[in-house]
Amino acid sequence: MRKAGIILFWIITSLGVIALVTLPINLQTQLIASIAVVTFMAVIKILRAEGTWRLTALAFGTAIIMRYVYWRTTSTLPPFNQLENFIPGFLLYLAEMYSVMMLGLSLFVVSMPLPPRPSRAASEGKYPSVDVFVPSYNEDAQLLANTLAAAKAMDYPAEKLTVWLLDDGGTLQKRTSPNLLEDQMAKARHQELQILCNDLDVRYLTRDRNEHAKAGNLNNGMQHSTGELIAVFDADHAPTRDFLLETVGYFEDDPKLFLVQTPHFFLNPDPVERNLRTFEKMPSENEMFYGIIQRGLDKWNASFFCGSAAVLRRQALDQTGGFSGLSITEDCETAIALHASGWNSVYVDRPLIAGLQPATFASFIGQRSRWAQGMMQILRFRFPLLKRGLSIPQRLCYMSSTLFWLFPFPRTIFLFAPLFYLFFDLEIFTASGGEFLGYTLAYMLVNLMMQNYLYGSFRWPWISELYEYVQTIHLLPAVVSAIVNPRKPSFKVTAKDESVLVSRLSEISRPFFVIFAVLLLAVLVTAYRVYTEPYKADVTLVVGGWNLLNLLLAGCALGVVSERGELTATRRVKVTRRCEFGLDEQWYPATIDNVSVNGARVNVYAKNLGILPLDKRGLIRFTPYSSGHEEILPVAVRNTQVAGDIVTVGCLYLPEAARDHSLVADLIFANSQQWTQFQMSRRGNPGLLRGTIWFFGLALYQTSRGIIYFFSSPGARDKARLAAEAKR
């Protein structure tokens, strides 16, 4: 009853707002109202008011956006009989309406995200049996060794925990391939991994045919296992020790729970972060999704499976016939099917795995193409809005997640719309200067402020636009093909173990330079037209300003596709852990300063140790989290620095036994706290103004870097082209 009353009250107020914003008031009133709203929102933002005030600010923003939509719909479309203006004008209108709709959907999703749940690790409970699935296709043994060792080292009763390596790279089909090379590689892999699994006490499982890709592989695993719960980790996603303790408990609370999803935390930067050097100081791209959107989805019981770092209930999966494999994003598809049959999901906002993401721009795009195409398939085959069994909020949430991937269309339109005017003199948006100020500018300001309000600490200003732009160029054809031919896209495993050793342009960078050149030309045309056509300088300046913004984005993207070479192949993780360093039978007190999957840096307290010879064998003795007694990891010295009594030794692991992999995993992955701390260290909202100034500076610098790369390394460019052609 009370709920009904509240809903009624909300509907009445909403109708009131709608009635007010759809009044055909004059421009003066609109201007004053816009100024009032923007000021009000700014004040709330400056005061960092939360709770109801946050929602009030959002309500204000919504009102201005609705006014914009009303005005845009009723008074700005070019007349229908001027087709040359109407068609691009209408496309632009559709693009804007798409953006507004997406903003509306995300408002629904994240207007009041669920606060992070308290830690479950401490609470005692029943320990249901868990099968850990690590599906693999082509990852190398060392990477798998770390993941499997970390999975094996999870804090959980050993008899309840079975770790499975589901190898799709050593299937019978591959081992008997007519392709000799493939056949031999598969056989060798089959052999090697079986030994590794034996050493690590992990079950190795492969199958006859590579059917239904990852989903088929997982379903095959299900057929051979019996555990109540199934945890899924990608081959490069190493869990922390407390992973199961933090997640399993929820299944006991809710018998209808099918999924506990945890965030994906990445040790290495994505190509954008790496090339812009923002990994250490700016929140990662995926943090917006895992930091706030999944929490928002969780409020509506719509948090969905992301393919890895999650625990699922076998009973639920059995009911819907295992993992769905119709689309190439089997994870989200599976979650829709289970949500639709009345199962619940929970999201735990705490990084409990650490993984890798694609290092090169090309494989980054490859990964995103898969997501985008998969989401298009879901949109096509499982249209969430009309999916029976889903609650209304769940439908909206899934629509928000899938429709998001249509962004290449509006992004393309926004990119080229100003050019219609600047190059062809088409008027695709009819508005006066005053109206532009009163409606469009207010809308843009309010939009930016709302974005900043919603995602401020997770996403800095203009970064969304940058990510969308760099993906758009190559995603647009992928999305179009998925829409035109939804059954065509096939699952491609994203390569994550590449590295860029030499600075070079990405092999798919060419379109970015072409677009940049076109936009630059448009800036020149702007200047020329302002000079030669002073009677419409105002319109030209507004459109030219828009184009300039596009040029900044395009310039920044040049930096993104200019891949920086890196000396270290893997990312180092800062840890501070006491140990002893053994050299020639002598033990010195030491601390481990940082670690990577390949080696560690150790500060050794030793007088007169001097510079150590290269490849000298050493030992690190420390107490792993898992066992409680000291163990020894053999290493080789790669470099030494002496600073007084402290000798800093860089060393390479020399894993000899399977246990050594576990020790390495323990050093890097065991502690979930360190991932949280790292994320927190770069979380922070620079604010709209500071963020914008920072971004513009970044864009200018990256533009120059991109141009320098372009002109300084023609050889590299040719090589890149050759590589691309070879690939084709």
Binding site: R2, T29, L31
Partner: protein, 778 residues
């Protein structure tokens, strides 16, 4: 004399005859409206009310040819490269049958190049003159024979058009130096023979025409005018005549004695019983002693026709008046008119728009035109009702079908003016020529007013040739711009609610008196010739706006009015106190106004302050603030005073010493009626003031809640409406309320912002409550 008496005797005698039924004066009051003579339709048989025309005893002396002046508003100024006027002139059957000559007198600017400039005249769409414009030195007199049978009884459309080009200059600015002035005094139809002069049927009232200054006068001779009981019928007659003639500049004068000869554009109206009239007018129809008589009689003294309205008693005179006025009642208060009649001063009539309407330019009297000059201008009129309430937010749309040639340069523009105020500008931004097909031009309705509105479209065309301006370039006949009559004017649905007070609504359509079924109370402080003249002129104006006579009822004492709608006319000092209170006029002005003709020249504080502000602007912070305010005002039309929450209350108004007439409006004490006040210091001021105010050029300026007229400077000033009441005129509907709210909020800008803020906070609260109760919470 004896002859008249004899006739009267015969008629009296005929009363006893069985043929009585055929007596012309059958004053059946319930004459069906459909029988009313419709202008122009002369074929209809109108049996009952056809008045007897008494042939006067003596033939009037043969006079010179009868001049029918044509220009409805006096001298006609035709400015720019393309200018003209179309209007219709009502002619009697006799005039139409008589051969006529058209006389045209004009003078033009010295800059007009005669080789390439033409002045043309069309009558009923037949061109009868097409002359080079070559009369720079003096007013030239042209005379054309109007072909036989071209003139029709009833309305005849006359179209004057001037195409003028500059002798030497090709700039747009130079086109403002081009003018031709058509002289009203020398522009007329001249009819030979005295028949043209005579008026016979009552319909011929419409042929009253204008004098050589564009004025139309009804001179009432009423010996008994000071008897209070005569006022109501006289006002009814005056209004009926005003509606019938419907000329743009009509005035009424009352006298007890006969005045001088009737001039063109004048009509003498004798009202009274035979006994009253006998001393003044010899040739009264004999029937007047027997029953109601209304008809034309030629004045034996002057030979000009006189309208005699007579009867044995004032009751009978009332009946006679009805026979004149009744046809005008077709558009009663309940009738919704399709057009506002304007054709006597510009043709066609203005379509009366009440809701969403699309009108093609061809329906608005525009014909496709190709133009080779640099400043093209055309205009049309539309009417909006008194309850039009969309000034603040509304926008009409012109869907323009036009074309421009490749020679037209970007930077040219098309401007739209509403009642002389710029309402929209569309730049021509692309070169190489173009065809605009239904290009939407939003026209702000800010300057729309109840009644007739003039919308002008002006194209300013720049071209490369004009920049070079080779000799003879101005005469080029290659069209560079065309406006097609397939263009449309689209009036959207607009908010409809009346405001009280609103003098503009009264001026435009006689609102609210024109809509009232109940008689409007009329309070005259004294019944004399001046007051009656002013009252008749004022009421005649209202009636012409409303399209029908407004029923009035005089009251002897203001106390009898109560709260009903009323009009108060007279000296301010004699007005009841409540009237001044209700119209916000300072009580003190009752004694001060008009009593101190000297009037000290006090420094105008407002003006002085403005001067000082101007002097001190710039430099200081406050100066910059003013600069900013000016900038905002100029670009966005927002000033500090427009930032308001709601209407402010009216301050008390005192007319200045120079003011000679004051018109004010206010609500009656309980708000249910509308009180209008027309006041002047003296009777003469009243009469002259109302006459000046009701002229075509000035009546449209009647607006606000108070309007004043200064005779010395001939200026009109208005006090804008600040505080007003809404008066519902439409059945309640959500869409109308929505538009009303839009207009009100667009006027009271801050209220909108506050409302949005309040609703925003409420929505925020509601959403917070909703989200706390829906989905998962923790």
């Amino acid at each position: 004399m004896t002859r008249t008496a004899l006739l009267a005797l015969i008629l009296l005698a005929s009363h006893s005859l069985p043929l009585r039924a055929q007596v012309p004066f059958d004053m059946t009051p319930e004459r069906p409206a459909s029988d009313a003579p419709i202008e122009g339709s002369r074929t209809g048989d109108e049996p009952a009310s056809r008045p007897v025309v008494v042939t006067p005893a003596a033939q009037p002396p043969e006079t010179e040819a009868f001049k029918r002046y044509l220009l409805p508003n006096g001298n006609l100024d035709m400015n720019g490269e393309s200018a003209g006027l179309a209007w219709s002139v009502y002619l009697t059957p006799q005039q139409a049958a008589t051969g006529a000559k058209l006389n045209l007198g004009y003078q033009n600017s010295i800059f007009v190049a005669p080789e390439v400039s033409r002045l043309s005249v069309e009558i009923n769409d037949t061109k009868i003159a097409d002359e080079a414009v070559r009369s720079a030195d003096t007013v030239s007199d042209l005379s054309f024979t109007v072909p036989k049978d071209l003139l029709k009884p009833g309305s005849n459309l006359i179209r004057l058009h001037a195409d003028q080009r500059h002798r030497t200059d090709c700039t747009i600015e130079s086109t403002y130096q081009l003018w031709s002035n058509v002289d009203a005094e020398k522009t007329f139809l001249s009819f030979s023979g005295s028949d043209a002069r005579r008026l016979q049927s009552l319909d011929d009232i419409r042929a009253i025409g204008v004098d050589d200054d564009g004025l139309t006068r009804f001179n009432f001779v009423v010996p008994a005018l000071e008897q209070p009981s005569t006022t109501i019928p006289l006002m009814r007659l005056a209004q009926g005549l005003a509606v019938l003639a419907d000329m743009p500049n009509q005035s009424f004068s009352f006298d007890t004695r006969s005045t001088a000869e009737t001039k063109p554009g004048e009509l003498t109206v004798l009202v009274g019983s035979p006994a009253e009239l006998q001393p003044l007018f010899a040739s009264l129809p004999a029937t007047a002693s027997a029953g109601p008589v209304a008809g034309f009689v030629d004045d034996p003294a002057t030979g000009s026709p006189v309208l005699v309205v007579s009867g044995p008693t004032w009751q009978a005179i009332g009946a006679a008046i009805e026979s004149v006025v009744a046809p005008t009642d077709v558009n009663g208060p309940a009738v919704r008119r399709d057009v506002i009649t304007t054709k006597r001063w510009r043709s066609p009539d203005a379509p009366f728009l009440f809701s969403d309407t699309r009108l093609r330019f061809s329906q608005l009297g525009f014909k496709t035109e190709e133009f080779s000059g640099r400043r093209f201008r055309t205009d049309f009129t539309i009417g909006v009702p008194a309850d039009f309430y969309a000034n603040a937010y509304g926008e009409a749309v012109i869907l323009l079908d036009a074309a421009y040639s490749p020679t037209v340069l970007p930077g040219s523009h098309i401007d739209v003016y509403v009642n002389g105020n710029i309402a929209s500008t569309v730049p021509i931004a692309s070169s190489g020529g173009g065809i605009l097909r239904h290009l939407p031009i939003n026209v702000t309705m800010r300057h729309f007013r109840p009644g007739v509105n003039t919308i002008a479209i002006e194209a300013m065309l720049e071209s490369e040739e004009d920049k070079l301006c080779a000799p003879g370039a101005t005469g080029s006949e290659t069209p560079r711009f065309a406006l097609f009559d397939s263009s449309e004017f689209h009036m959207p649905d607009f908010a409809r609610i009346a405001q009280l007070p609103n003098l503009a609504a009264s001026a435009g359509t006689g609102f609210p008196y024109g809509r009232s079924q109940d008689a409007t109370r009329l309070f005259l402080d004294r019944v004399d010739a001046d007051t009656l003249s002013a009252t008749a002129t004022f009421l005649g104006r209202l009636a012409a706006g409303a399209g029908h006579p407004i029923p009035v009822e005089t009251v002897a004492s203001p106390a009898l009015i109560g709260s009903r709608s009323a009009i108060f006319i007279g000296a301010l000092s004699q007005m009841p106190e409540t009237v001044l209170t209700q119209t916000n006029i300072a009580e003190t002005s009752r004694t001060t106004w008009g009593s101190d003709p000297g009037g000290q020249d006090a420094v105008n504080t407002e003006a002085a302050l403005d001067a000082w502000r101007e002097k001190l602007r710039g430099g200081t912070f406050a100066g910059w603030l003013t600069v900013f305010e000016d900038w905002v005002k100029e670009n966005f039309d927002i000033s500090l005073s427009s930032l308001r929450f709601a209407s402010v209350s009216e301050s008390s108004f005192a007319p200045s010493q120079e003011t000679t007439l004051l018109v004010a409006q206010g609500a009656s004490p309980d708000g249910s009626g509308t009180w209008s006040l027309v006041a002047a210091p003296t009777g003469k001021d009243l009469r002259d003031g109302v006459q000046a105010l009701s002229a075509q050029g000035t009546w449209g300026q009647l607006a606000g809640h108070i309007t004043t007229y200064e005779r010395g400077t001939k200026t009109i000033e208005t006090v804008p409406i600040n505080d007003f009441d809404f008066v519902e005129t439409q059945p309640s509907s959500l869409s109308n309320y929505r538009l009303i709210a839009a207009n009100w909020l667009s006027t009271n800008i801050l209220t909108y912002a506050v409302l949005l803020a309040v609703l925003g906070v409420m929505l925020g609260l509601a959403t917070a409550m909703l989200l706390n109760n829906l989905g998962r919470r923790e």
